[in-house]
C-alpha cells in the first residue's frame, strides 16, 4: 500500500488530490455525491472583499476537450465567507484552503486580514493572481514579477498560514514569476489557472461568452499545465501544485513526475462531482501497481534519458 501523504509547506495532506478553486463551490454544494473528507483538500471559490454578481451570461461554452469560462469571480464576499462558511469548515476532516482574488493590492490584504482576525480552521490561502476574467486588474499581478513579489510579501507579513500563489499560464516566463513568489516568501505555487481563449458562433456572429476573452480549461490544456509545472519546478525549491486537465489517476502521476507535490482537479468536477475521489482511487491503484511506497518516488522523478 502506497503512503499517499504529501507535504506543502508546513501542511501535511492525506493525499495529493485537491479540488480546484471555482470548480467545487464552497465545498458543500455536492456533498451527497462524495465525502470531501477523503480528499487531500479543498480550495474554495475565489473570495473578494465585496460580494460579486459576476459577469452577464453566457458564461461558459464547450470547446474540443475543454471549456471556456468567464464567471467573473461571482462570490459571496469575505464577510459572508467568514460568517457562513468558516464555521462549516471546522467540521471537516480535510485541508481547506481559501482562495483570494482582488483587483488591487489593498483588496487582497483586506480580505486576508479579515480572515486572519477570526479564529478558523483554514490551512491557508491560495492567492489568485491569475484570473483572466476581471477587467480591473486581477490579471496584472500574475504577469509581472515585481507586482507578484510585492503582493506575496505583503501577504506573507500578515499570515503564518500556508501561502500559495496561483500562477497564470498567460505569460512569457512563468518560472520567473514563480521565482518572485518564492523569493517573497510564498510557501508554494500552484499552476495553471485557465489559458486565455475565445469562441465565436459563426451563425450568430456573436461571442459564445459575454466577455469575449475568457479562460480555457479541461483536458485540452493538460499539456500546458504539465509544461508549466515542469518549468517551475526546475526553477524553484518550494513545492508546486499542478493544475490543468486532470481527469484520471495517471494524470496525477504525470503531474507528480513533472515536479508537482500535489494536484488540483477542476473541470472534471463539472462532469462528475465525485471526480476527485474517483481520480484518487485510480491514482492509488496506479501507485500500488507500480510498487510505489511513497510519493517522493514520483515527485520530480521524470527520467532524463528519453
Amino acid at each position: 500500500m502506497t503512503d499517499l501523504n504529501t507535504t506543502i509547506g508546513s501542511i501535511e495532506l492525506k493525499n495529493p488530490i485537491l479540488v480546484a478553486s471555482g470548480t467545487f463551490g464552497y465545498g458543500e454544494e455536492c456533498d451527497e455525491f462524495s465525502d470531501v473528507n477523503q480528499l487531500g483538500g479543498i480550495i474554495t471559490k475565489s473570495i473578494t472583499l465585496h460580494p460579486r454578481e459576476g459577469n452577464p451570461p453566457p458564461r461558459i461554452v464547450e470547446t474540443a476537450s475543454g471549456m471556456l469560462n468567464s464567471i467573473g469571480l461571482a462570490n459571496i464576499g469575505v464577510d459572508r465567507y467568514i460568517s457562513d462558511m468558516l464555521p462549516k469548515y471546522d467540521e471537516l476532516d480535510t485541508t481547506v484552503i481559501m482562495n483570494i482574488a482582488g483587483s488591487s493590492l489593498t483588496e487582497y490584504i483586506n480580505v486576508l486580514e479579515a480572515v486572519e482576525a477570526v479564529p478558523n480552521s483554514l490551512a491557508g490561502y491560495e492567492i489568485n493572481i491569475s484570473c483572466p476574467n476581471v477587467g480591473e486588474g486581477g490579471m496584472e499581478f500574475g504577469v509581472d514579477c515585481d507586482l507578484t513579489s510585492q503582493l506575496t510579501s505583503e501577504l506573507r507579513q500578515r499570515t503564518d498560514k500556508l501561502l500559495v500563489i496561483k500562477l497564470s499560464p498567460n505569460v512569457t516566463n512563468i518560472a520567473a514569476i514563480a521565482q518572485s513568489a518564492e523569493a517573497a516568501g510564498a510557501d508554494a505555487v500552484s499552476a495553471i489557472n485557465t489559458v486565455v481563449g475565445m469562441s465565436i458562433n459563426p451563425a450568430t456572429r456573436k461571442s459564445n461568452v459575454y466577455t469575449k476573452l475568457c479562460g480555457l480549461s479541461g483536458p485540452a490544456v493538460k499539456p500546458v499545465g504539465v509544461a508549466a509545472v515542469y518549468k517551475i519546478s526546475q526553477s524553484v525549491s518550494i513545492p508546486v501544485i499542478g493544475i490543468g486537465g486532470i481527469t484520471k489517476g495517471e494524470d496525477v502521476a504525470e503531474y507528480l513526475l513533472a515536479g508537482a507535490s500535489a494536484v488540483q482537479v477542476g473541470t472534471a468536477n463539472f462532469r462528475d462531482p465525485a471526480a476527485g475521489l474517483q481520480i484518487l482511487t485510480e491514482f492509488h491503484d496506479f501507485c500500488d501497481k507500480n510498487n510505489i511506497s511513497d510519493l517522493t518516488e514520483l515527485i520530480g522523478r521524470l527520467q532524463n534519458d528519453t
Binding site: I60, E62, M67, F270
Partner: protein
Amino acid sequence: MRRIESGKVLSNHKLAKGMYRMDISLPEISSEVQGPGQFISLTVGEGWQMPLRRPMSIASIENDSISIIYKIFGKGTVWLKERTSGEVIEAIGPLGNKFSLDKINGKEIILVGGGVGVAPILYLHDQLSKDNQDHLLIVGAVTAAEQFLEHSPKTGIHLTTDDGSVGEKGTVMTMLEILADKVENPYIIACGPEPMLAAIYKFTTEKGIEGQFAVESYMACGTGLCQGCVIETTKNISKEHTYHQKYSLVCSDGPVYDINAIRI
C-alpha cells in the same frame, strides 16, 4: 437527493422530424424525482471530446425509467441519437426545481410547449390529467412533420404549425391569445425556445397574467458548482442556492421561475 447513475437505454426512436425519444432505466434517479420541470444531465461522447453533460428535461417517468424527448441540435444530440437499446448512458439527477402547482390557486392552467420545450410540459400534462385537473395544452412547431401529438381541441390539446399543415396555422401565440381570452382566469406554464418565451413574457406582462417558465441555459455542471448557468432576475428572488441579487442559478434554483421573476 441527486444521484449519479449509469442506466441502460431501453429504447431510442424518432418521434417527429429531428425529434427523438429515449427511455433510460434509472431506478435510483427516478425514485428521487419530485415532479415536472426537473431534469437530468447526460454524459455524451467518448472520452473528453465533449466535457460537458447535456441537460434534458424529464418527459415522463414509468416504473424505474425516465424518458427524455430531444431535438438534434449539435454533436451531443447526434451522439444520443446513435445510441441503441442496451447501451449504457451516464446520468446525473434529478436536477433543478419543479413547477409549483400550489401557486395556481384555482386558476385555469394553459400549458404551452414549443419545440423540445414540450418535454417538461408533457410530463406536467400527464400529471394534471392523472389528477383530473382541467387544463389546456398548446404545442407549437414549424410544420406537421415536427408534431407528434394529435390535434384534439375537444380534449384541450391544441397543435399549431407555422404553415398550418396540422392544427391551427400560426405560432403558439396565435392560439394562446385566443385561449387566454376564452378562459376566466388563465395561468400560463410554458417551456420552449427563447423567442417563444419572450413573446409570452410580453403578452402576460401586458395582460397581467401570471405563470411559470421552465428556461434553458448553458450549463457546465448542473449541480451548483460552476456558477455558469445564470439568468438575470427582476427582483432578489433569493432562493436557496442564489447568493446573488442580480442572477439566479438555473440549474439549482431553476429551471422553473415565475414569469415575472426573470428577464428573458
